[in-house]
């Protein structure tokens, strides 16, 4: 058992555990906080996979924006007696069953493929070059500039859409006319 493996196992366990707490916790604020921990665990895994840029993006975007957004949403939609009621649907067993089945299937499939047990190949070039190459690939014309730009348009649309949807009713007309 190497150090990396240990780190991996610990992180994975923590992430999975906090994931389960996310879906099991009756208090939504607690669930949001557990979500932050899960996201942090994913960050560590990114680092283990030598995708440092992505780890940082994970922290900044997921934890820093999305998780906060979720907390905002929880706060904005609180009901007085919300936490005392049941937090799962009547047919939660069906969902559990489905999830288990899916996991079982995936597991069965994955263990049958031999190449997956091999170790990680050597990373070509410097680790520092990865970020530079990544950045350049995102904006170079013969690589991934199109998806990059499309994604930015998508973000713009989502931004505007979210604002329009979430506006209070009276201000929706004015904002819609203006934009």
């Amino acid at each position: 058992m190497t150090v990396l493996q240990l780190i991996f196992l610990l992180t994975a366990a923590a992430t999975l555990a906090s994931g389960m707490m996310v879906v099991a916790s009756p208090n939504l604020v607690h669930a949001a906080l557990w979500l932050i921990i899960a996201l942090a665990g994913v960050t560590v895994l990114f680092v283990l996979l030598e995708a440092g840029f992505l780890a940082v993006v994970q922290v900044a975007v997921y934890i820093g924006a999305i998780a906060i957004l979720i907390i905002f949403a929880v706060m904005l939609t609180r009901r007085i007696a919300a936490d005392s009621q049941s937090q799962v649907t009547r047919s939660w067993w069906l969902a559990a069953l489905a999830s288990l089945l899916l996991f079982g299937g995936l597991l069965a499939m994955l263990t049958q493929i031999p190449t997956l047990t091999a170790g990680a190949p050597v990373l070509p070039g410097n680790p520092g070059d990865i970020v530079r190459d990544l950045g350049q690939s995102l904006v170079s014309l013969d690589q991934y500039v199109l998806p990059f730009e499309t994604a930015s348009v998508l973000l713009l649309a989502a931004l505007i859409g979210a604002i329009v949807i979430a506006l209070p009713p009276k201000a929706a007309g004015a904002e819609g006319g203006e934009s």
Binding site: T89, S91, L94, A95, A98, L101, L102, G105
Partner: protein, 710 residues
Amino acid sequence: MRPEILSWLIPLPPILSFFLIVLFAHRSNRLSHTIAVGAMLISWALAMSVFILALSVERLGEHPLASSIAWLPTAGTALHIGVLIDPLGAVTLFFVAWTCLAIFVYSVGYHNFGSPRDNEDVPGLPPRAGGIEPMYARFFAFISLFAFGMLTLVVSDNLLTLFIGWEIMGLCSYLLIGFWYAKESARKAMVKAFMTTRVGDVFMLLGLAYLYSVTGTLSYRAIFSAPVLERLAASPSVVAGLSIAGLIGLLLFLGTVGKSAQWPLHVWLPDAMEGPTPVSAMIHAATMVSAGVYLILRFFPLITAGWYEGQALTPTMWVIAAIGAFTALFAATIAVTQNDIKRVLAYSTISQLGYMVAAVGIGAFVAAAFHLITHAFFKALLFLGSGSVIHGVEHGAHATHEHIDANDMRNMGGLRRKMPITFWAFVAGGLALSGFPLVTAGFWSKDEILGHAYETGQVWVFGALVLAALLTALYTGRQITLTFLGGPRSSAAEHARESVPTMTIPLVILAVFAVGAGWLGIADDFPVLGGVLPNWFHAFVGGTLLEEPAATHFNAVPVLASVLAALGGLFLGWLVYRRVRAEQADPLVGPLGPVYTLLQRKYYFDELYSFAFVRPAYWFAETFTSRWLDRVVIDGILHGIGRFALRVGSFLRNVIDLPIINGSGDMVGEGVKRGGRGLRWIQTGRVQFYLVVGLLFAGLVLSYTLAIRP
């Protein structure tokens, strides 16, 4: 113009007149009678021209004026129709033209032309008080059509157009007898006349068809050729004992029995007096009933085929003679007891036609034709005279506001002074009818028949005819005495007046013929007078037949018998009736007793026929056919079919249409609804549910493609 072409034109003016009056002229009375009389005048002129031209032809019998056209093409041959003017046709044309013209002119006055229309007169009833007849134009239309029918019959050269004319006259007789259709007696009489003559016509048509089927032609010249006649006389027919010629002759004679009112089909003629008097004169005295005799005269060669003078009569001839003689006597006995002036003349007509028929039966062709012509003149004269008398008495009745039957002789009397022209004309006709010796036409013609009967040894016929002659004179004397002599028996008769000239002039003309027509047929060996005038008639008409018949030899017995009968009868009639008062019973009632009632009731033949034929026919029509067959059987079948169809329909509806067809249609809709209702629980509206379902299906598909069918 050739006389044949003129002959074609003779029937044409009256039919044109009929159509013109019916379609255009019927609103104007003057125009109607002008067209009618004018048309008849043209036909008369054409007929006279043809007659004169015919007279000039040498041996007209062998070279008749003839013309025919192919009318109806049938396969290889064609049916020919045409005109034929032989001696018989020529003399018939002569008297038909004269009598019809006289009667047309008479009708103008008879229907009171010139008098204003009485507003209380109803169409369908005779004018009450001397106003113009409301249906004036209609009358002239009908008699024009009738004249067309008679002229067609006379000029035709084949049995088919003869039959056409025959039937047209039957129709006009029907229409004219019931001219005053609002009277129930007239309506009954018109139907009776038509039905009775129809019986005869059926047999005539059978004879016609049989003749056509045997000879293949209906044309006279083809049938009356010697080879054809010999063949027909020699071959036996379907009836045992009769040759084909005999059977056809008998069947055609049955048509004559109907049309000329011989016993047993005589019952319609007296009732036919319901029609206006010109109708009685023309149709039922001079022309239509004469058509029956004309038919058997025309077919004399066929009737007498295989018979030669001096032989015993063939069965057909015997039947004809028997019926003729019997009818002559039978009708004369009834005439003695009748009180209606026209009815006496009707029975007299039946009786005289019996004379002619009997003459044909015993083979006296020329005598029969002679009597036909003289009778037409004097009978028409007598009828027109009676019409004049009736008009005079009606005028008197209207003047004195008396309501009496103007036809009844018991209400007349003394009219000699009031209506002199009518009186003398009537006397002329009456004497001719009785056979007053020498000066009247009736004597010569009747004498010839009696002479022929005596000469050929037909004793029964001779006896019957002499007896009938006596009775004829008797009732004629009675009629003249009751009507004109003595004193008036009612105030109507006292105030009678003479008729207008349009009525009296035709009387005078006919009187001339009634007196003079006989002198053309005086036998050559008649004492004193024979040979003074040649027996033109015998020579001319006798030429019609293939072998000219021998002239009757003068024999004192029949002449004496007829003279005695005539003078004796007239005298007796005058004697018995000259002092009859009003309201007095008939002098003959006492002596004759129950026989008188029998005679007056016409031997109860009307009652017999009503019982034997008319009532069963009504029963058959009303009960059997109408009630049973029509309503029960036929309607029953129809209703049954209807009910069955209804049942089939409701079965189809309830068993097939509603459950199956409607049901399957409904089921589609219902099925969709139920299916929807069954499936809609999936549509929960909850997102998570949708996701789960989607996941499950995705899993299913995935496992299928990966595991079972990779």
